[in-house]
């Protein structure tokens, strides 16, 4: 799906509580946040990676409320400055569950690595509007999105896998 400049289809904009909602595409909802990191914080990002890995090991369903397919965290350089790219693919537009995401990150002790980005609001835990504003300001909308299994939700995929496992179980019983 080719997406107009700016990220919206002008004739078909749905409004969420924090503003217009970026459209759903065959690759579902999502964002691509690109922001400059506070110089010298690279190691904090890598440490965050280890913290989150550990948290997920302990609580595999920690991020379930976010209705995710994938998250990708990337650090890269442009002309000597380090940038952070955070790309998420979701089944729901980000706007809907913003406060839940903020609560999740502030309560689970994993906090957010966003605190190491330039311009991130210090009061993000109590000010979801400021959090959303930052995300929106740093989101780079796609101009093209593709999905090999278009519009399918993570839940449907998980259900299909369960059916597949059940079927193979049944077949095992017939041997």
């Amino acid at each position: 799906m080719a997406i107009p400049e700016g990220g919206f289809f002008p004739d078909d904009v749905e409004y969420g509580r924090y503003g217009p909602i970026f459209p759903k595409t065959p690759a579902c909802y999502g964002f691509t946040i690109v922001a400059k990191i506070i110089p010298g914080r690279e190691e904090v990002f890598r440490e965050h990676g280890r913290t989150l890995e550990k948290a997920i090991k302990e609580q595999p369903h920690l991020l379930a409320p976010l209705q995710l397919h994938y998250l990708r965290w990337v650090l890269f350089e442009i002309e000597g400055a380090t940038y952070f790219m955070y790309q998420g693919i979701f089944d729901t537009d980000f706007d809907k569950y913003t406060e839940d995401a903020v609560d999740l990150f502030s309560q689970s002790g994993i906090s957010t690595v966003f605190e190491n980005l330039e311009g991130f609001p210090a009061d993000w835990k109590t000010n979801p509007a400021a959090f959303v504003e930052f995300v929106r300001a740093h989101h780079r909308p796609s101009f093209l999105e593709y999905g090999e299994y278009p519009y399918v939700s993570a839940d449907e995929i998980k259900k299909s896998l369960r059916v597949k496992f059940l079927l193979s179980d049944i077949l095992d019983q017939m041997q």
Binding site: G16, P65, T92, K96, Y97, E99, D100, D103, L104, D123
Partner: protein, 438 residues
């Protein structure tokens, strides 16, 4: 500790009222507004005063103001700017977010509620209709003393028969679920989720996340206050009954369908606990009628469809951060009762409801935008709340049933939004401060 001497009674109590009236006012001058407010002050009861006098009291009064109303009373611009954006904009400006489109759009609302001249609401509740007439006249007299106050509109509310329990025009028993707040003296009923931090509903107290943050200023104005979303929701009773008749062959099937739409039998009995057959004694028993959950007890929705009204507006154990999205509900039915055997008479009837919370955007607007109107809530794909969602005849309602679910397509709108507004409901000290000109 909760300041029960300062919080307006309605936040923690329901008046034992069968009648009431909401009046929507405008002030043509700050002086008139303040003089009127001064004259009304002694009628406004705190939680403590209300509880102490409930046996003898005959009328209960609540005052609340729009953002324009606070300005009209002389609150300065610096203070006005500290109120949250959604409150400053007002409900009509948030229509796209709330799902107020089509027939529900503010262009069709009644009662002058979308005008910036709407400044205040007076909620009057009385034991009966005769008392209402008396106190209504008294209030008219007070307004007449200050000619620069104007009555924009009013709505009378009344319980409908049978009078022995609260219910709406569709016949559903209501007022079963109330969030219990820490420090209020209320105990949560079994299953209803434990005590909630007062800051979820009342400004100036810790909430479920921690200490209070970003209160409107000055603190004297904000403290012990709350926000109140008003919704005048017309109920199309004839259409609702026709729908039940069309999709249910026997009275028993129709009752079950009505229960599936709500998640409770019309008696109030929760479907999770009484999936096949109504149990009115269960519906009436507060020790049992909230003692259930969904993810655990009914994950696939065989008892309560995933899209049923009460499963959407309080998904219990099936939602994240549940306690950050709770609301206090108040209100009453308006319009004439339509007897069971009477055809639709075309008269307007419905519920005139208030949703109270500390953050309109995180609680009320979240419920409207996500829980009620997200077509894909719980992966439902093509559904909205069958009772209050924005319905245009193109959506469906799925009823999980073994072996194959039932799918009703072309769901009609059983309700229409006829009006609404956002109010700030100050504590008593704040009311005095406003009356004194800040």
């Amino acid at each position: 500790m909760l300041d029960l001497d300062d919080i307006q009674y309605i936040l923690l109590n329901r008046a034992p009222a069968r009648a009431g009236r909401y009046e929507f006012l405008s002030f043509h001058s700050a002086a008139a507004g303040r003089a009127w407010l001064s004259a009304m002050l002694e009628q406004v009861q705190s939680v403590a005063a209300m509880r102490a006098s409930i046996a003898d009291e005959k009328r209960w009064v609540t005052l609340a103001f729009t953002w324009h109303g606070l300005r009209a009373l002389g609150v300065d611009e610096a203070s006005l700017a500290t109120f949250p954006e959604e409150f400053r904009q007002g409900m009509a400006a948030r229509a796209a977010i709330l799902g107020d489109t089509g027939a529900n759009h503010p262009d069709h609302w009644v009662g002058d509620l979308t005008r910036p001249e709407l400044h205040a609401i007076v909620l009057l509740f009385t034991r009966d209709v005769a008392d209402r007439a008396r106190y209504q006249e008294e209030h008219a007299g007070t307004r007449a003393d200050f000619p620069d106050t104007e009555l924009l509109s009013a709505i009378d509310v009344e319980a409908i028969p049978p009078f022995d329990y609260a219910h709406d025009h569709f016949g559903y028993r209501d007022q079963l679920t109330n969030p219990a707040i820490e420090g209020s003296g209320d105990e949560p009923t079994p299953g209803s989720g434990g005590l909630l931090k007062p800051g979820e509903f009342i400004l100036g107290y810790p909430d479920e996340l921690g200490p209070p943050a970003s209160l409107p200023q000055p603190e004297l104005l904000a403290r012990n206050g709350s926000y109140m979303a008003y919704r005048r929701l017309q109920e199309h009773v004839g259409k609702f009954r026709d729908f039940l008749a069309e999709h249910g062959e026997t009275p028993a099937e129709q009752e079950l369908l009505a229960a599936k739409l709500m998640g409770r039998w019309r008696s109030g009995a929760p479907l999770v606990l009484a999936p096949d057959k109504d149990d009115p004694a269960l519906g009436a028993d507060p020790q049992r009628n909230n003692d259930f959950n969904y993810a655990q007890a009914d994950p696939h929705g065989y008892a309560v469809p995933l899209g049923a009204h009460i499963r959407r507006v309080n998904p219990r154990d099936a939602a994240a951060s549940m306690n950050r999205h709770r609301m206090i509900r108040r209100g009453a039915t308006y319009g004439p009762h339509l007897p069971d055997d009477a055809p639709e008479d075309g008269q307007e009837r419905g519920v005139a409801a208030f949703l109270l919370c500390a953050s309109l955007i995180r609680q009320f607007e979240f419920a409207q935008n996500v829980w009620i109107n997200d077509k894909n809530f719980h992966e439902l794909g093509n559904e909205r709340d069958p009772i209050v969602g924005t319905q245009d005849g193109t959506l469906e309602f799925k009823i999980p049933t073994r072996p194959i679910r039932r799918r009703i397509t072309g769901l009609p709108a059983f309700t229409t939004v006829r009006g609404g507004a956002y109010f700030f409901i100050p504590g008593l000290k704040a009311l005095h401060w406003l009356a004194a000109g800040g």
